[in-house]
């Protein structure tokens, strides 16, 4: 049995996640879509916090909200004039998209509800400490991630160079 506070917290977070993601894809103003995305990302970060992954939540806020969304905003400001609405969707494509995503929802939700044993209470878990995260990330033993870490660092380097080369003015 959860405390009332955590239930209220959950409801707010879940509602925020659902509402903002719906708004993010339905709004016609692209800058607003980016803003709603930011809120959704915050909601996701809140989920991480609620599940005791504080480090992950912090990374989510720092990288996603702080980095990616800012990148989005820059791109939007570069490619559209202020007050520039995106095109009106035709009802046909709207309906089709709706049908597609609802079918997706139904199939996956049905699978989730019927197939998975997901109704057990949350087991206890020792929240991962920074020591443990650091060791796991930098260790070379079983279940440790130095190699992916280095690979991601190379990927980021490549992406920096690629971004510069692609976006550079010729």
């Amino acid at each position: 049995m959860e405390s009332l506070g955590s239930i209220i917290c959950y409801v707010v977070v879940a509602l925020a996640m659902i509402v903002f993601s719906v708004l993010a894809v339905t709004t016609r103003k692209i800058l607003r879509a980016a803003t709603y995305l930011l809120f959704t990302l915050f909601a996701a970060a809140a989920v991480y916090f609620m599940l005791d992954y504080e480090f992950l939540g912090a990374v989510q806020i720092a990288v996603y909200a702080g980095g990616i969304v800012v990148l989005f905003v820059f791109a939007i400001l570069l490619t559209s004039k202020p007050g520039d609405n995106s095109e009106k969707l035709t009802s046909k494509s709207k309906v089709l998209g709706l049908i597609g995503s609802i079918a997706m929802l139904v199939v996956s939700g049905y699978a989730l509800i019927t197939r998975c044993n997901l109704f057990e209470a949350r087991p206890d878990m020792e929240a991962p400490t920074m020591d443990r995260i650091g060791e796991t990330l930098m260790g070379t033993g079983a279940g440790q991630y130095l190699l992916p870490f280095e690979a991601v660092s190379v990927l980021l380097l490549a992406c920096i160079i690629g971004g510069v080369v692609i976006a550079r003015k010729r």
Partner: protein
């Protein structure tokens, strides 16, 4: 009331489906990229939830999410660079205009 895994999974599924809807209906490439981020994020949430509820003593889901965030950042950066480049040459970010490389 017990908040079980399904309570987290359903919102994340809805988020994912929103991403799908946005990706297949929006014409603006940046909006599509936003939808893509939604989907990615929903998957991240799923990883974390499964990790937390099914294998609490391990940390694979969390680390996968960590790397996914890093890769998402890289992907977004490159995608935006491409979009800006396209915008420069066509003054447009409508995805329907980009069929020069078909067949």
């Amino acid at each position: 009331m017990e908040i079980t895994a399904i309570y987290y999974l359903i919102p994340s599924l809805i988020m994912f489906c929103c991403g799908v809807y946005g990706f297949i209906t929006r014409r603006n490439m940046i909006a599509m990229l936003v939808s893509l981020e939604l989907m990615l994020n929903a998957v991240d949430v799923n990883f974390v939830v499964f990790n937390r509820f099914l294998f609490p003593e391990q940390m694979e889901g969390m680390f996968f999410t960590l790397f996914a965030i890093a890769i998402a950042a890289a992907e977004t950066a490159v995608a935006i660079a491409i979009i800006i480049n396209i915008f420069r040459s066509t003054r447009n970010v409508d995805v329907r205009g980009l069929n020069e490389m078909k067949f």
